[in-house]
């Protein structure tokens, strides 16, 4: 299983956890994050989300984020999978697993990764709600924006 993936298939948190955490006797902590499709957003009743990705660049951006994680927390290993296509309420859209000798770095790596995903990974939510649909637009992606990267780091370490 690849540590970084953008896929239309259902996400496998157990498989990714095994992939990231196997065979390191120095490990002391595994932290994971699962992003779910929520049934409401900004006062709207959400029916489902349809995720679109610019896949080759999304994989590159995710790989850049995992490289940043290893730079910031060198004793940590990280895996991240993002799903695309139609995802139903309650199903997972993104999974992140971080493994480290100590819990603080595992938690921080997980949080940093999801914050950075929202900043620089070319994936878009098309929200279908009761009464219509709308493309959600968050951050203007700029991987070289150092202030955004530092903001993600501060949130991760808060």
């Amino acid at each position: 299983m690849a540590l970084v993936a953008v896929t239309p298939a259902a996400l496998d948190i157990q498989g990714l956890t095994q992939e990231v955490s196997r065979s390191r006797e120095g490990d002391g902590a595994v932290a994971s994050f699962i992003g779910l499709v929520r049934d409401h957003n900004q006062g709207r009743r959400v029916s489902f989300l349809d995720y679109e990705a610019y896949e080759p660049l999304a994989v590159r951006a995710l790989t850049r984020i995992t490289d940043e994680v290893i730079q910031a927390w060198p004793d940590t290993r990280i895996g991240v999978h993002h799903r695309t296509g139609r995802i139903e309420i309650g199903d997972s859209s993104v999974i992140i697993v971080a493994v480290s000798p100590h819990r603080a770095n595992a938690f921080a790596a997980c949080r940093y990764t999801i914050e950075r995903i929202k900043q620089i990974v070319p994936i878009w939510k098309h929200e279908h709600f009761v009464g219509g649909d709308v493309w959600l637009e968050g951050a203007t992606a700029d991987p070289d924006d150092e202030s955004a990267r530092q903001a993600a780091y501060r949130i991760a370490c808060a």
Partner: protein
């Protein structure tokens, strides 16, 4: 010369297609490809200040030069996660 333009999310909806092949004047930049596209489809212009751009699936800048056969992508603000 010929380039492939990729559009995503609402930009794709506005253009009615996610992939367009266009002949552009040389020398070309991402900026000149964008300008030609907006001249053809003015509705796209609202994204000029908020979008990101990529050349051959790597983040780039409006000033970057574009070569024959390149894939130039225009990306609305992202909303993954």
């Amino acid at each position: 010369m010929r380039v492939t333009v990729r559009l995503f999310a609402r930009l794709r909806d506005l253009a009615g297609s996610g992939e367009l092949v266009r002949d552009v004047q040389t020398p070309a930049t991402v900026q000149s490809v964008w300008k030609a596209l907006v001249a053809e489809m003015p509705a796209l212009g609202e994204y000029e200040r908020t979008m990101s751009v990529a050349v051959n699936a790597d983040y780039s800048r409006m000033s970057a030069s574009v070569s024959e056969g390149d894939e130039v992508a225009f990306l609305p603000p992202v909303s993954g996660g």
